[in-house]
Amino acid sequence: MISTVLIIGGGQAGAQAIDTLRREGFEGRIVLVSEERELPYQRPPLSKKFLAGELAADRLPFRHQSFYDEHRIELKLGVRATRLEPAARRVALSNGEEVVYDRLLLCLGAISRQLTCPGSELPGVHYLRGISDVPGIREGLKPGARTVIIGGGYIGLETAATARKMGCAVTVLEMADRVMNRVVASNVSEYFAREHRTQGIKLICNTRVVRLDGAARVERVVCADGSIHEADTLVVGVGAVANMGLAAEAGLGCENGIVVDEYCRTTDSAIYAAGDCTYHPSLRYDMRVRLESVDNAFEQAKAAAQNLLGRPTVHDRVPWFWSDQFDNKLLIVGLSQGHDQQVTRGDPATRSFTVCYLKGGELLAVEAVNHPKDYMAARKLIAERARPDPDKLADPSIAMKDSV
């Protein structure tokens, strides 16, 4: 008999788990513990419309307080889980309370990878992860402010685009030879680099930050080649790592994230995990993955909620991702690792094109730039393990759905 479900983490996964638990008819006690003071809210707008001040704070939460009242959810906001004791099924909280659970769901998310070079501890070094990070960054994004972004990944480029739209003089410093190098094809990187440069952003690749300088706060960034970039505002976006300290200290299996099986179970039978903090099997791609993905957080939490109620549900999704930069929308579906063929549909000069990845003839993943039709068609084809004709794929006059 399950009477108490404790959820730790108030992000997309934690919020979704509540919804699923009640929809599945669970009538028992649900406790949600979140370090953040806000009701569970959407994170993607933080680097985009919310940072720009175009989206009011009251539009970020998934649900209003009334939803939690109506569904009898005990919210413990601004509270941190300090210790997990799996043998006693007990969690100690920073407010001095202890919660004893029948099932525990860890939705701990990811945390920003920190710079380690000299000067990293200076005030004014901003990371963008939660809502509380935004005011400090936004305050510095005044017209003409020299804004340096370290890291040319999703967060870095989205923040750069937002800062530029707000009138800042923006420099992006990327260590690799191209932007978003871990996640997109080289022609997609090139396209976005050109878009950013056309908008007036100074984008520098192949550059390694060695030091941050400043008196009372960070004032400039020094690179390995000796170049110096003056910074009125500095934002660091150099990736994220799973937030798994609580789980690791409790002795749960952890590698690149909290290890779970396809039923979202950790190495303890009463503890489940979902979202960015998990290192989980993808049956579709025959490998273990850790994903930073809204869709994965949502779907894995749904599956975890069903599983912890004793209703076996395999989590095996084709993941998808998106990024908005200036007026461009990048839509990605699938995982491209292990591909043996790459096909580009359409001409980047038209500002709308798609890169397709295949392995042994099977469609693995697609990156669609301003091309929702290809993206939606690909979601279906990849889920069906379709084997499109590469010649038809390469011909943008043939609809992707008709390439099989």
Binding site: R23, Q42, P44, F62, V294, D324, P372, M376, A377
Partner: protein, 107 residues
């Protein structure tokens, strides 16, 4: 405040108050309307807030942009009156807007 009606595939109707200035998807999410999934939160990236707009209403809404049309083309069972609810911005004129939730989201 305008009121909007969500109809489930089985015909169950729910009428809710809808503040002006937010989207129909946000109204659905705040009220926990079943079947409006909306993982992307209005970025036009998931096609999981698809609804069918009742007769007479489609022409009273702002027409869909290309991004929305592209997402809907391969959505689950698209119809002429299909819309993504995240792209419908509520105004006082939309009092009484009635939409039906499809049997499935995504594609």
């Amino acid at each position: 405040m305008p009121r909007v009606v969500f109809v489930q595939p089985d015909g169950v109707r729910r009428e809710v108050a809808a503040p002006v200035g937010i989207t129909l998807m946000e109204v659905a999410r705040q009220h926990g309307i079943g079947g409006v999934v909306a993982q992307c939160g209005g970025a036009c990236a998931c096609a999981a807030c698809h609804v069918y707009v009742e007769p007479d209403w489609p022409e009273r809404l702002e027409p869909p942009e290309d991004m929305e049309l592209g997402m809907l083309e391969t959505a689950w069972e698209p119809r002429a009156n299909s819309r993504l609810s995240c792209q419908i911005h509520l105004t006082q004129d939309l009092d009484g807007l009635t939409v039906t939730v499809p049997g499935k989201q995504g594609n």
